[in-house]
Every structure is written in C-alpha cells, then in structure tokens.
C-alpha cells in the first residue's frame, strides 16, 4: 500500500496536541496570518480553485457556496456544523478532541473570506470532550489575540461561540441547525431562500462542516497544488462533476478487526480501506454488506467493494452517495432484516415530524420490519416497504429535507440487493432475538 502522510490527523494522538502552544510550534496559525494578508475574494478563490467539497455529506463545493452571499451584506454569520450524528460517523469528533486549533484556524480563515464577525459552533451535546477541548482552544485564542477585537492586528474582529445541541439528529440538517440555534424546534426550512441569502437570525449565513473547515486551514497553508495532488479528477463524461480532491477522514466501524478513523486520499476503494487499514473483517469472515458513508447511504455488497469511495463512486452502484465516508461493515453471519430494522428505527426516532410522508413513512417501515422480525410478516410486505421507501424524501419531492431519503435508501438497497434475506425470513416465520425489539421506547 502506498505511503501517505496524514495532514488532518497528523497531530492527533500526540502529547498536548490540543494546546495552542504545541499547535503554534507545529506551524499553526501561519495559514491565518497568510490569509489575513490576502483579500477575502482571494481567499475564496483559493478555496474554490482547490476544488474543496463539503465533507458533511452533500459534497457541495465550499468556495462556490461562499460566493452565494449577497455582495452588499452587512452582517454575515458562520454556523459551524459540529452536530455529527450520522450513524457510523466520528471523524469530526476525533479532530475536535485531538486538534481543535486547526478547526478554529479554519473558522477564522473562512470568516475572513466571507466577511463575517460572528461564528457559532453548533456542537452535539454528547461530545463532552470535544466541548471542553474547543472551549479551551477558544479561550486561549482570545488571550492570544487570534480571536476577539482586531485579530493579529488585521483590523478584523471575530467572535466564536460554542452552542450545545440537545440530542437531535435533525440539527445536522443546515436549516434545522439554524432553527435550533435560534432557540426553536429544529424543523428544517423550505428552501429557497437558502441560508446564504437568509439564514441565521434572518441574515446571510454560511453553514460548514468541521472537517471542511480543517481542510480550509491546510489549503491556505499548503496550497492548491498540494490539495489537488490527491483524489479523483472530475469525470469527463459528467460536466457537472466537480471532482473529489484532497484528503478524507474515513471512519471504519462494525465487524472489522481495527475500527478507527483513517485519513487517506479521496477515492480509496472500500475493499482496500477494510483490508489494508481496518485489519479486515473480524473472525476471518467475509463482508456481507458495507455501508459506504453513514447509515443513510445504503449498502455495498461484497462484489461491489471495489467501488472507489469518492463523491461519485457509491452512487454508481445504487447507493445514495459518499455521505460522511463513514464505513460500517456487516459480516456474513448477520441477517439484513435485522440490520435494516436498526436503520429504520433510527430514522423513525429522529424524524422531526414536520412532513407527513417522513413522519408516517419512517414509522410504518419500522412497524412492518417489527412485524417481519416477529414472525408475522407476509411476502407482500417486501414490496410494501419498497413502495413506502420510494414515496418519501426530496427525491420523489414529498418532504422538505433529505432525512427521509436517508431513511429510504437503506430500505431500497437492502431489498434490491438482499431480497432473499427478507423472503427467507418471512417464509420461515421465525422470531428475532434482537434485544431492542423487546426493549420498547422512551
């Protein structure tokens, strides 16, 4: 396997890696100094030219998003999305805990580029260690004049505030996050207007993910060429493809020998990631299904494991996309009906309840699976599940946000790719021993 020098993770795990002192000793904040000498438009152009695409799931080009702000905007906010809740995903947590200053530096650079004086980090409550690491980092930055008034003598002011969520997956949806930050129910908004036009507190707002902002730091520090030296160039057959450049934090978990977060150039195959880095499937077994990028992306079969994990790869084999690049491995001793039940229950629990197709659809899919797992399923339930899954989400156009696309995709993939698991279960009439079926709700 080729050697690769990690950048986002290069300091994670070293002694005092979260402290400002060690960060500066390793060259920290020189990218910010460099950026502050450039005009905001030049910084935006640099990020745009590097081809950085958002790491939160949708893969929207970051520099392009920044250019959507109205030119005459007087107040702009940056909302940093640290509500990492997609099942299987923990890359943001790793860098927030282990190297928070590269994120704060990225925030400061982004704020300079978008002419923003206030940034809010929306952090999910469960990340207590990340909260304490970021809190300390922000306090140290205020003392060192890296945040506050007239940062580094540039004449720019910047305040960064931490805002803790309260355990709701939907707050990771950018307009749900904005509503929650405003002190309301996290009900995603109808778009347009997009947040860049009217977002937080009705002002133009940019919402960026933690890993995206960490990439911004390194693009400014190491340059466009460095970033574009990794990854996959745009597909010539697809004029709308922006390519998949740069390093990516891949999270691997589930039935593997060495679960963990691995930084690699975009485009590694799922098979190489699992076998060469994550130590292979546990107990000498084979993979039955591999989630390519967080639960909502669907499943890769064993035969599809040579799919490159870039922004286009998973989509070509019927998955929703790359998502958060969180890979979950399911071994060949596991039944897909139970795996799918786990997925459906999650989305049904996390549906915000605003759109009827999502609230009812996710709940019914869960109930149908409960029925099958209880030995009371009928063969027609399989197509009923597909019918519900095909009817919910922004792809069929029945909901405001993409939560139910994420709920539907694993259903479609599981039934299309593992239909015999469902048929066999229903025909056998057996009952699942899954603990959570008896555990109920609270």
């Amino acid at each position: 396997m080729p050697t690769f020098e990690p950048v986002l993770l290069r300091r994670v795990g070293k002694p005092n890696s979260a402290s400002l002192e060690t960060y500066r000793a390793d060259g920290g904040y020189r990218a910010l100094e460099k950026a502050l000498k450039m005009t905001p438009a030049e910084v935006t152009e640099t990020v745009k030219s590097a081809g950085l695409r958002g790491r939160g799931g949708a893969g929207f080009p970051t520099g392009l998003k920044w250019t959507f702000l109205p030119k005459d905007a007087t107040t702009v906010y940056l909302a940093v999305n640290a509500d990492e809740s997609e099942p299987g995903t923990f890359n943001n947590r790793i860098i927030m805990e282990g190297d928070p200053h590269q994120i704060i530096e990225g925030i400061a650079i982004a704020c300079h580029a978008i002419k923003c004086g206030t940034a809010y980090i929306y952090l999910r409550y469960e990340f207590g260690r990340s909260y304490r690491a970021l809190k300390q980092a922000v306090e140290d930055c205020y003392k060192a004049n890296l945040l506050g008034k007239n940062i580094l003598g540039s004449g720019k002011d910047l305040d960064v505030y931490l805002h803790r969520g309260a355990g709701a997956y939907i707050c990771g949806e950018e307009t749900g996050l904005i509503e929650s930050l405003e002190g309301k129910r996290a009900w995603p908004r109808i778009k347009p207007p997009f947040p860049a036009i009217e977002g937080l507190f009705r002002k133009p707002t940019i919402v960026n993910n933690i890993e995206t902002l960490a990439c911004v730091t390194h693009i400014l520090d190491r340059g466009i060429e460095w970033f574009k030296s990794m990854g996959v160039p745009p597909d010539p057959a697809n004029p709308r493809d922006a390519g998949s450049y740069g390093p990516k934090l891949y999270c691997v978990s589930g039935h593997v020998n060495k679960p963990g977060c691995y930084e690699l150039p975009m485009g590694i195959t799922a098979r190489a990631l699992i076998n060469d880095y994550a130590g292979g499937v546990w107990k000498g077994r084979k993979a039955k299904a591999v989630v390519p990028g967080g639960m909502s992306m669907g499943f890769l079969t064993e035969k599809e494991l040579d799919t490159p994990l870039d922004f286009n790869g998973p989509g070509k084999v019927g998955c929703l996309g790359l998502g958060t690049a969180a890979v979950m491995v399911v071994d060949d001793q596991t039944n897909m009906v139970e795996v799918l039940y786990n997925s459906c229950r999650f989305y049904s629990h996390e549906s915000c309840g605003q759109c009827t197709p999502c609230r009812e659809g996710t709940a019914w899919m869960t109930k149908i699976l409960e029925r099958i797992l209880d030995g009371r399923g009928q063969l027609r339930d399989i197509d009923l599940l597909l019918e519900v899954a095909n009817g919910i989400g922004i792809i069929p156009g029945t909901t405001i946000c993409g939560l139910s696309d994420g709920a539907a995709w694993p259903v479609k993939n599981a039934i299309n790719k593992y239909r015999s698991d469902f048929e066999d279960w229903i025909k056998s009439g057996r009952k699942s021993t899954l603990v959570s079926l008896k555990m109920g709700r609270h």
Partner: protein, 159 residues
C-alpha cells in the same frame, strides 16, 4: 421570590450577549436548569420565558422537541447513562450490554434507580463507533464496553 436560584439566573443572563436575539438562549438556559435540577419544571419554564421575553408556551414548544429535556415526572438521576444501540454498537453487542445492565439494576430503559444515583437510557449513535459498544456517562463517553466494564463504571459513580 423566584423559583430559579440567583446563580442559575445569572448563568442564563450571561448567555444573552452571545446572540442577537434573546430567544436563541432557550437551549443554553434549558441546559443550565436541567444540569442543576435534573429536570425542567414548569416554574423554570415560566422564569426562562420571563428572562428571554418569550411566552412560556414558546419555551415549552422548543423544549418538548428535544427528548433530551425531562419534565419533573421523569426527573433524571444524579448521573445519566446512555448505551448506544445504533448499527455499529448493535453489531458488537451494545444491545446485550444494555439488556444486562437493565436486568442487573432492575431498570427499564429510561428509568432511574430508586436511590436516584443514575438514569439508564438507550441512545442513538453517540459518534464513538470505533469504540463500539459505547456508553455515555453524562457527557463522557466510555468505549469498548462489556457488561462487566460498564458495571465497573457504574459502581464508581458518585451518588
């Protein structure tokens, strides 16, 4: 005489300068109250609303969206334990850990021990999948658990 202590009121008021609207302090205020009182009583909702110049119904509307906040009938114990049951943890035995803890401490998920020492809940993905199965104790995550190591964590909790 206000229901919230002066200390709590000051903590809430100290959040106000961070945001351009008072309403944005709703979640921070609810967190401050629940951290201390282990639930959010109606009196607290009314006083938060007063500080934030909102109607109590608006505070309750936000609060009831987040399953995180508890009313006095479902008051949390001194510690809140959440065992993850999402896919990576399920695949590595998280549900069994939760079931065995429930049995050992005679609890149903969501309930609190009679001495108020801890509340045991299940959680959806805690974002610690490399250490599955995992359990959140207040806001510290414990990873790679077995029922034995989880019980050790519980025995060490302050009551």
């Amino acid at each position: 005489m206000s229901f919230l202590s002066e200390d709590l009121r000051q903590k809430i008021i100290a959040e106000l300068p961070k945001y351009p609207t008072k309403r944005a302090v709703t979640l921070p205020a609810l967190h401050h109250v629940q951290d201390v009182l282990r639930c959010v009583p109606l009196e607290a909702i009314k006083e938060i609303a007063e500080i934030l110049e909102l109607h109590p119904a608006e505070v309750h509307d936000t609060m009831s969206f987040y399953g995180f906040f508890r009313d006095p009938e479902h008051k949390l114990g001194k510690n809140r334990l959440q065992v993850c049951r999402s896919l990576s943890c399920m695949l590595r035995g998280g549900e069994e850990v939760l079931a065995e803890l429930c049995q050992k401490y005679h609890l149903q998920p969501g309930n609190t021990t009679p001495d108020g020492k801890f509340t045991l809940e299940f959680a959806e993905c805690l974002g610690a999948c490399e250490g599955a199965p995992c359990m959140l104790v207040n806001d510290e995550c414990h990873m790679c658990l077995t029922t034995e190591t989880a019980s050790e964590v519980i025995e060490k909790l302050g009551s």
